[in-house]
Symmetry: C2
Subunit: 248 residues, 2 copies
Amino acid sequence: MSTFLRPRVPDVQNADSAWAICPFCGPHKQCLPPDVLEPYATRLGHISGHRRVARGDYLYRAGDAFTHLHAIRSGDVKTSRVSADGEEQIIGFNMTGDLLGVDAIHDGRHRCNAIALEQSEICTLSFTPLQELFLFMPRLLQHFLQLMAAEIARQQNAIILLGNTRTEQRVAAFVISLASRYLALGYSPTRFRMRMSREEMGCYLGMTNESISRALSNFRRQGVLNVDYRDLEILDIAALRAAAAGLV
Amino acid sequence: MSTFLRPRVPDVQNADSAWAICPFCGPHKQCLPPDVLEPYATRLGHISGHRRVARGDYLYRAGDAFTHLHAIRSGDVKTSRVSADGEEQIIGFNMTGDLLGVDAIHDGRHRCNAIALEQSEICTLSFTPLQELFLFMPRLLQHFLQLMAAEIARQQNAIILLGNTRTEQRVAAFVISLASRYLALGYSPTRFRMRMSREEMGCYLGMTNESISRALSNFRRQGVLNVDYRDLEILDIAALRAAAAGLV
DNA sequence: CGAATGTTTGAAGGTGATCAAATGGGGTGG
DNA sequence: CCACCCCATTTGATCACCTTCAAACATTCG
């Protein structure tokens, strides 16, 4: 990286609140390595806020002017768009550590709704001052670019999933995706509660809630999963992986 | 924007070659407004190169180390990934003005293949020096962020298309997408040649080449399109839009 | 505790995939 | 420049998969 522009952030302690360092994912710090985060914490704290949202609340709506990025500190959120005929179409599910709203950088207007699936804590980041911080903090900028690129890569996976797989394969891949994200957050990857309805899963995966239900039931009959409504346990991860790879 | 970091680029004429200003899309300049581009041209020129590729050539391969971004100066390119079972899965089609490879910023390694659909002219942009330029050129950075966000938005459209539409609707939307991109490039939006095979279209749209062919034939029978192999003419844009909106 | 919503399972029907074959272009080598 | 061959495209027939419609049951939240 360039040596001529080194962060000139004062090395001030800022321990008054955990919220102050939340903009890049708070306690888990998975978005930004601690050694990078530390000197930025103070400045980032100045441009961030936080809110609590209840199940069903909107973080932002399609059409809203884009002013802030939204980071999930805890909880689960879905992002969706509403088509011309008024039907909701889910773009993705997000959980602790995810950063929402970057797509709105394009034209300064949100094109998605972000809706809480349960009570959640949200950090808001004012984007204009963040952009100015980038000029002082090359590693912060680099990190942000990597974040956006990771989002693109994730969406590529979704495109492949939707275009080139059958229902059971798709559901298996989705369950594995959830498991690996819970693992990354330090939760059990084999037992967790799915926060979205079958309807919402189906909307995201391009199938009906009935097909989702049937696929999960099939996996249960095969001894691969233990499904009790939204509680899920992975019994045979190898078989699940095989199903996700299309080896049926 | 910040006033303390204004571009300090020497105002040097740099007219020796059109290639020198190619990094952000050359003659069409659609990526960067001329008044922004002008002062950057010299510096950008220093970090850019160019190549000519023939039909079937790889711009880069999945697994390659990421060093350069690739901008299409002319021609058409497809990006794809190869699944575990060795099948090609097309992520997108790109044409003049598109910037490829941003997804590799995530971990410094390309995850896609980029393959020329026909003879093309490609600009290469060394990413490390570009990152340093960002620190001097806030508007260039802002523009780049907008570019990446636009890519995310485009992929969201693809996800919706794949998940929530039927074949005819999907094909109609694809044709409209091609038309609007040709329009933006100054070409006829109603008569153009499709650069990809039915097979490749199908792979991208999550259907078989036969289904693509049938959908196009149906539109021809209805007087909506004139299809002659890869040559396409839009006869009834209103009907096509209606089909793309799912109003069948 | 009751109503509304979410989930499971069944049966029937439609859409798109698969298999197959004929036709037409385009690229390559002579 | 032409002819050939390979491959893309079109069209048809059959079939599997998933959707649709329907009903029973569980859960959650007021």
